[in-house]
Amino acid sequence: MEARIGLRNTKSGIFKGIIIFFAFLITLPLIIILLYIIKQGAGQVNWHFLTHVPAPVGEIGGGIANALLGSFIMVLIASVIAIPVGMLAGIYLSENPKTKLAYYSGLCVDILQGVPSIVVGIVVYFWIVKPLGTFSALSGSVALAIMMLPIVIRSTEQTLKLLPDSLKEAALSLGVPYHRVILKVIIPCGFAGILSGIMLSIARIIGETAPLLFTAFGNPYLSISVTKPMESLPHLIFTYATSPYDDWHNLAWGASFILLMFVLVLNIVTKVITRKWKVQL
């Protein structure tokens, strides 16, 4: 019997060792990607890189200003579209979980989340680009907004569902009308969670290339017109990394570094915010 116990302990020890090993292993891909991108890209980044548009082939220098600005503008417009719509839909889903509408609309959200981003791009192409006759930043923003929606909806819904009913009752029993209960109590109490969902959705779409291929298209010049084609970071990386020129490859590495850093910082900030602003229930 005593020997058996020893054997059992050994097995437990081995099992524990295995799961620790894999928990450790999954941090490796990120670390390797990070190190690689930093090695290749960090050296490219300087003030000139951030403030100039790409140089033509053969010329020294050039930067990614057009893509930085383009990504910023398109993510901003996408957020303006997706955040209010997503939050309102999320509020409905959390408030009325048992209705038919909630069931089907929740189902649609799940399916939408699974729609390949390239398909979203094609659809928006037929919706907006074709009728308008031109690639545009606006169509790119709409494609990104569609990608953002399910994340905002689900994170809003899940955050608000965790709030106890007693909170709502407290407000209602004071004669507070429903819309003010939602706006003044429910949303403020779930604010950290909703915000973190929004930030994660931004981190998710900032790197999307496929929906932009036939919507925003790309633009080697600095443009702020939303009805004209516009460059974005992932699209610039795609174009320049697949080009045959070494200068352009370096540009793509630099842009990858910026993009990765942005996503990394956004994720870290989100974690900090959720911890700091979380309302203690």
Partner: protein, 252 residues
């Protein structure tokens, strides 16, 4: 006539088709403490929530009959106005976690978007917290979040929040069932003081509490109001056999 504040006439409530409160008739006088007791599931909480129209917020919940507040049927009034006029304190303390103690007290004004001057707010906060026997404990931390307080303090904060709206009637739904004995006694002590200005209806499944704090007791059983009488009378010489059985602990 004038001393009656709440009167229920043939009041019924339902969850779907399940009738929870059956044909209740009761008349409650001003400045009394009423205990509503009965075994779990007897409809006492549902009845209480019918008075300020909180019952109907639950999907599928309906009611009929009349509940008169100062002679006016609350079901003919705007539900929001009814809830605004009647204070309510819940089973679990539920201060707003996003608001400070100060803001929690005047939450009824803040959340309704009512304009109140800073000076008036200060007065309301101090008065309400004093009435809720909490002022001394929190006066130096008014701007801390209400959720840092102990359970009993939180519950008294919720009472202060109800008092701040200057209701005539305050409903308590098992207000001490989530509290420890010391917090419970601090809240119970409060009932005696509140009686001077307000009418209190307290749902409790704690018989000792009903006996300790109330002037009159209503006993609910299986959705019916079995007996409503002076508390002393009720506990010493109940007229209904079911009340007798409940009080002597034959069922609970």
């Amino acid at each position: 006539m004038e001393s009656t504040i709440v009167k229920a006439e043939n009041y019924n409530s339902f969850f779907g088709t399940h009738q929870v409160v059956k044909d209740v008739n009761i008349s409650i006088k001003r400045n009394e403490v009423i205990a509503v007791m009965g075994p779990s599931g007897c409809g006492k909480t549902t009845f209480l929530r019918g008075i300020n129209r909180m019952h109907e917020l639950i999907p599928g919940a309906t009611s009929n009959g009349k509940i008169l507040l100062d002679g006016q049927n609350v079901y003919d009034m705007n539900a929001i106005y009814v809830r605004y006029k009647i204070g309510m304190v819940f089973q679990r303390p539920n201060p707003f976690p996003n608001l400070s103690i100060y803001e929690n007290v005047i939450a009824g004004y803040l959340l309704n978007g009512l304009k109140v001057s800073k000076a008036d707010k200060d007065v309301i906060v101090e008065k309400s917290l004093t009435s809720a026997a909490l002022w001394k404990e929190v006066k130096d931390s008014l701007h801390k979040k209400g959720t840092f307080l102990s359970g009993g303090q939180q519950q008294r904060l919720c009472i202060a929040r109800a008092i701040a709206m200057e209701p005539e009637l305050i409903l308590f739904d098992e207000p001490t069932s989530a509290l420890d004995p010391i917090s419970t006694s601090s809240v119970e002590a409060l009932f005696h003081e509140l009686k001077a200005k307000y009418t209190l209806i307290i749902v409790t499944h704690n018989m000792q509490q009903a006996a300790r704090v109330s002037d009159k007791t209503a006993f609910f059983y299986m959705g019916e109001l079995v007996e409503f009488d002076d508390t002393k009378q009720m506990f010493t010489n109940p007229t209904d056999q079911r009340t007798q059985n409940y009080i002597t602990g034959r069922f609970s």
